[in-house]
C-alpha cells in the first residue's frame, strides 16, 4: 500500500523546503500549510498560534467547495482560492500531479497579487522537488 503523503518523509522533508522558500518570497507570511486534499497536515511553517490540524481540515473543505462551485458553473478547473478578510488573506493552490494543497495565510501588509504569485511559485517548486529522485 502506498504511504499517505502526511506520513511519507519524502513529502514532509521536501514540503518543509518549499514552505521555507515561501517565507523568503513573501515576508508577511503568517502561516503556511501543506496538506493532503482530504485535510491531513503534511507540514506547516510559522504561526505557532494556529492549530495545524484544524487549519488543514478547513483548507481542505474550502478547496473542495471552491472546486465544486467551479465544476457546477462549468468554469473549468479551479486554479486557486482566496479568502480575503480585514486583517489578512488566505491563498490556496493545488500542487500539480499530487493530492496536495498549499494554503498560506498572509497579513494585510502583502498585496493579494504578490501572495498569489508567491504561493503559485512555491507550489510549482514543490512539484519539481517531488519529481526529483
Amino acid at each position: 500500500m502506498t504511504l499517505a503523503p502526511h506520513l511519507d518523509s519524502k513529502y514532509i522533508v521536501r514540503g518543509e523546503l518549499a514552505l521555507g522558500g515561501l517565507r523568503d518570497l513573501a515576508p508577511s507570511l503568517r502561516y503556511a500549510s501543506l496538506l493532503t486534499e482530504d485535510g491531513f497536515s503534511v507540514v506547516s511553517v510559522a504561526g505557532k498560534e494556529f492549530d495545524s490540524d484544524r487549519f488543514a481540515s478547513m483548507a481542505s473543505s474550502t478547496q473542495a467547495l471552491a472546486d465544486a462551485v467551479a465544476r457546477e458553473l462549468q468554469l473549468g478547473d479551479n486554479e486557486f482560492v482566496i479568502v480575503a478578510a480585514a486583517h489578512g488573506h488566505v491563498v490556496q493552490v493545488r500542487v500539480d500531479d499530487h493530492p496536495l494543497v498549499l494554503a498560506a495565510l498572509f497579513t494585510d501588509k502583502e498585496t493579494i497579487g504578490i501572495s498569489l504569485t508567491a504561493a503559485r511559485r512555491t507550489a510549482r517548486r514543490l512539484n519539481t522537488l517531488l519529481m526529483a529522485n
Partner: protein
Amino acid sequence: MAEHVILFAGPMGAGKTSAIRALSEIDVVSTEAANSDRTVADKPTTTVALDYGEIGINEAEKVRLYGVPGQRRFDFMWTILAERAEGVLLLVNADADNPVETAIEYVKEFFALYERGGIVIGLTRADLVPRALIEEYANALADEMPDVMIPVLTVDARSQEEMMTLLMTLIANIELKQAVADSIGVGVGSGGRRAR
C-alpha cells in the same frame, strides 16, 4: 415554498454519500477528495465539506439533503450545517468497530437537533454481521438516554426505497414534534421548517 433541511451524519464509510445519491432528484453536489486514510475506510475518496441533494415532495414542499464529512476533524462543517437543519438521519455501518458506541456518540453530538426536530438511525451493512443489532442499539440508547425515542432501522444506503422510508420516518417525527409544540404553544427553536 416550505422546506425541510435534513442532515446526513455518521462515521466515514457508513454510506452517507450513497444515500444522498440514491434519494436526490437533482445531480448531487459533492466535495470528494482522495482518501489518505484507508485504514479507517478502504475507499478511494471521501467527502471533505458536504454533499447536497434535493427532493421535491410536491409543488410547495422541498427536502434539502446535506451530508457532512464523517471524520471528526471536519466537525466545523457539522456545526455550520446543523444550524439550518431540523433533523438528522444518522447512518452507522454495523460492521465497524463498536458501532453501538459510535451511534450513541453521534446522537450526543447532534442532540440539539434531536430536541429541535428529530434523529433516526439507519444501520447499514447489517447483512455483514452475524445478527441484526437493532435491539442492541435500542437497549443501549435506552440505558444511556432513557427519555429519548430514536427509531432504528436497517437500511441499504444505495436503495432509494429504503432510504426514503427512513427519511419519511424522520420527517414524520419532526412534524409530530412540531405539532405537539404548536399545540402547547412552545417553539422548537431555530432551524425548524422554513417557508420562503
